[in-house]
């Protein structure tokens, strides 16, 4: 059982790292700001989600696991909002702060 959980951690965290890598490649390679934003936020949100899911079995207590989930939910909220906000500023053609 433990071996299975460890295996799950390795697979999920590696998959999460892959999505982070893909998001970074997209950030560096995509041609304009909107596509870069898309690559970055989508891939990173998914990447962090996979890392959190992978780390869940390694937590000592249920509350530590819940805290990890909270961090991911907060990132979902803030990442999505920030991306929408930047994108809206870009569409209005205003470089903005």
């Amino acid at each position: 059982m433990n071996l299975f959980l460890d295996l799950w951690t390795v697979v999920a965290v590696v998959a999460g790292a892959f999505f982070f890598f893909a998001g970074t490649v997209g950030l560096l390679r995509f041609p304009d700001s909107l596509t870069r934003l898309h690559a970055l936020t989508k891939a990173d949100t998914l990447g962090l989600g996979l890392v959190v899911l992978g780390l869940l079995p390694q937590m000592d207590s249920v509350s530590a696991g819940l805290k990890l989930m909270c961090i991911w939910l907060l990132l979902l909220l803030s990442g999505a909002t920030a991306a929408q906000w930047i994108a809206r500023t870009l569409r209005q053609g205003n470089p903005g702060p």
């Binding site: 907060l74 909220l77 803030s78 909002t81 929408q84 906000w85 702060p97």
Partner: protein, 313 residues
Amino acid sequence: MIEVLNLGLAALILGLAVWTVFAREAPAAAVGFIVYGLLLTLVWLQLQGIDVALTEAAIGGGLTGVLLISAAVRLRRTEAAARAERPSTATRWLAAALSAAVTGALALCVIALPEPAPTLAPEVLANIAVTEVGNPITAVLLAFRAMDTLLEAIVLVFALIGVWSLAPDRVWGGRPGPLQPADPNGMLAYVARVLPPIGIVAGTYIFWIGADHPGGKFQGATILAAMWLLVMMAGLADAPPISRSWVRWLLVAGPLAFIAIGIVGAVTAGAFLAYPQGFAKPLILAIEFALMPTLTLVLGLMLLGAPQRSEPP
């Protein structure tokens, strides 16, 4: 394995520092500085300095970063003019040489430190029981070196007065920051309604846990100030005019309470800021409680900047 990661982190920080120094655009340099602060947070975590890591993330990376970005945005109009009057080669070489000399001297000092470095940590741990707090950092900040913390709180209020003093006469006493257009159905308003309850709980938790675990009033106050700023950015609430008497009183309440407790110590325990036997922890908590609103207000108002809109009396 962990050494490889540490080396990678150190290399990344050095590279980023060089990049930030050489960045041409001010906003780019400010973003470089924020990322630098976040990487430093990781370094402090690796060094087991969780309190410092929290402070670095909240104040070094977050708050200072926002201050720098807003400064860069304000400087945008003058940037072309500033670049036009490029200093002469000799001046720039002199500046580079001076900076390199300071860095070199600092590096020499750090390398010349005796091994093991001189430390008061064992004495702190031997005497921490007297203060009844569990977190050695809090014990140092509010018992053994309470004077430093008191002066730090006062310096912050002075810094805010310095920011305010940049206001032109006609808007003095008015509201800081531009008027934010309110869009009650916008996504910013949505986040400004959903996030503050979570942020207030998290900020208060970090403040409260500071007595026994990493955390404390500065980190907690930064989170609370961020929530306040979010609500103001969304246009759900306006910044208070700086002439309001509650603003003024709240700004001095924390340091005043700190000084009052210090004077009580001078009378009952024989020294300014000494705590009478058995009352150390309640008094430390009282000081933290009193400082918390002041710090939140100072940090929030400092980010809003000087008053910009006059308030009809």
